[in-house]
């Protein structure tokens, strides 16, 4: 029951293994994967502790212990003070997550539409393609003031900033994938009587789905990493605003705690996206 040694990379394997072998192998593999990850985290923590001890400057590298203390402090009401700037860590995170989710949802939806149009309507593409490229080269920090002029200092400009940050990956990936739609299948659909829109819906978009998913994953990541920029203005409560504030006072332990909170919640969202991807694209790798 040993797997046949093959020359092809393991993840690029050759279809499902035999029936009887399948189940225990998958379970065993998941277990090992979990073990390796736990080990890696422990190793990282140890490394961190060593580095922090060696640096001997908490505003360089705070110790894991200091960050842990901050986690406790920011998650409770302490000396009559609630968390950081009046909000608990989870509240900061929650507010930001809401912004990220709404912002990237808008950005992804708009990016999809833009991408499909760029990929299929040559006339619009001629003008819109440069506009998209232009916009995605612009630094959010530079145009954020414009958003404030237009939309004020509350949620709207933040959502706009995140949406604008999230749009390009989806738009570019979608446009590229749509542009590279398989000619033979487009022809096949056309031969069966598909209308132009049918072809887009039934051939071009499904074929682009893997790249679109990559775009969406990148978009969410970029929205995440833009949250500090978005929360430079009136950003507390908000994890980005918190990090920024702490940074200005060189409270490195709070900064690191905030970064870890951002990173871990980002991991969870990406995991959900990848699970969705695997479910939605059973044909990946098959042509």
């Amino acid at each position: 029951m040993n797997p046949t040694p093959t020359l092809v990379p393991e993840r690029l394997g050759t279809g499902p293994p035999g029936r009887r072998a399948a189940e225990p192998r998958t379970r065993r593999r998941a277990g090992r994967r979990f073990g390796v990850r736990v080990l890696a985290v422990l190793a990282l923590l140890a490394l961190w502790q060593v580095a922090a001890t060696a640096a001997r400057n908490p505003s360089f590298i705070p110790t894991p212990g200091a960050v842990w203390d901050q986690l406790l402090r920011l998650s409770t009401t302490h000396d009559g003070i609630r968390g950081y700037s009046g909000s608990l860590l989870v509240e900061h995170l929650g507010v930001s997550l809401r912004r990220i989710l709404i912002g990237s949802a808008i950005g992804v939806a708009a990016g999809l539409v833009v991408g499909v149009i760029l990929g299929t309507v040559p006339w619009i593409r001629v003008v819109a393609e440069p506009v998209v490229t232009f916009v995605r080269a612009l630094p959010p920090l530079a145009y954020f003031s414009l958003l404030i002029i237009w939309f004020g200092i509350d949620e709207t400009p933040k959502l706009w900033l995140l949406a604008i940050a999230a749009l390009p990956p989806v738009a570019v990936a979608t446009a590229a994938a749509v542009h590279g739609a398989p000619k033979d299948l487009v022809e096949a659909a056309g031969a069966l009587g598909a209308s132009r829109w049918d072809v887009i819906r039934d051939v071009v978009l499904p074929n682009a789905l893997p790249e679109i998913f990559t775009g969406v994953r990148l978009a969410v990541g970029i929205a995440y990493s833009s949250v500090v920029a978005a929360e430079t203005v009136n950003g507390v409560p908000g994890i980005g605003g918190m990090v920024r504030d702490a940074q200005r006072y060189l409270q490195t332990d709070v900064v690191v705690l905030g970064l870890i909170a951002i990173g871990i919640s980002g991991l969870l969202i990406d995991g959900a996206l990848r699970a969705a991807e695997q479910r939605l694209i059973p044909w990946r790798g098959h042509s």
Binding site: D184, A191, L192, G193
Partner: protein
């Protein structure tokens, strides 16, 4: 099955060149061909002689470099009036096998409620059962080709273009499908253009067989097959003395044309 037997194909002085400049390849022609409505034209020729190109021109996927192709009175438009079976199955991997057929039915305008009924019918017609839920890469090569045929049969186009549709099938399945195709086309008066490498198949199916020369494909033989289209059992048909003679003629022409 109803049908509008009005699809005369006219290929006039057509020549087709792929590419430009030093890389140009003259794939076909010049070649002229009138296919009256209701006839069953079989095209035979060496590999690379331009058969698929001719079919693509008739389907409207290529524009001839020179000359003119007409379906009835108008230039061909893909998806309008002609069903096609390509040389490769070209199934949509994101749809199940049944989903592929369903899509074809939808494009053919079959209402949603009726499609569920039609899918197994069409699959059974090409000898497939219990595969509708499978993914397209979970069926064998010959099964994929048959799904492609089922998909093309989903609409009652007056013109059917088939590019070596039975190449990957075993003898028995192949004969069954041949008989079905022969019968249906005789009954509905639909026009067919059929590409094959099998002389046997050509003579059995065709009301007319055209043999092409090597690239660029031109007409080497244009032969009417004056066998009865209905009334005879396949085995009776194959037993006719004319049948063997026609086979020999075509076979001889293929050998001459290819050298």
């Amino acid at each position: 099955m109803s049908s509008t037997p009005d699809a005369a194909v006219s290929v006039h002085e057509v020549e087709h060149v792929y590419g430009t400049g030093p890389d140009a390849v003259t794939a076909l022609g010049p070649l002229s061909l009138e296919v009256p409505a209701g006839s069953f034209l079989v095209i035979v020729g060496a590999s690379g002689c331009g058969k698929s190109t001719l079919l693509r021109l008739i389907a409207g996927f290529e524009e001839p470099t020179s000359g003119r192709v007409r379906i009835g009175d108008s230039p061909p438009t893909p998806g309008k009036g002609a069903g096609i079976v390509f040389q490769q199955p070209r199934l949509f991997p994101w749809k199940s096998v049944g989903g592929n057929v369903e899509l074809a039915l939808r494009y053919a305008g079959v209402p949603r409620a009726e499609r569920a009924r039609h899918i197994p019918e069409l699959l059974l017609r090409v000898g497939l059962r219990d595969v509708a839920h499978r993914r397209t890469w979970q069926i064998s090569g010959g099964q994929q080709q048959r799904v492609a045929i089922a998909r093309a049969l989903a609409s009652d186009n007056p013109l059917l273009l088939l590019d070596e549709p039975f190449a990957a099938l075993d003898a028995l399945t192949r004969e069954r499908l041949q008989e079905d195709l022969r019968l249906v086309s005789a009954q509905t008066g639909r026009t067919s253009v059929f590409v094959t490498h099998s002389v046997e198949e050509a003579v059995f199916l065709g009301s007319r067989v055209v043999v092409l020369t090597r690239r660029p494909g031109r007409i080497a033989l244009d032969l009417d097959i004056p066998l009865p289209r209905t009334g005879l059992e396949p085995d009776e048909l194959r037993a006719l003395p004319e049948y063997a003679a026609l086979r020999a003629t075509v076979s001889q022409a293929v050998r001459t044309a290819a050298t």
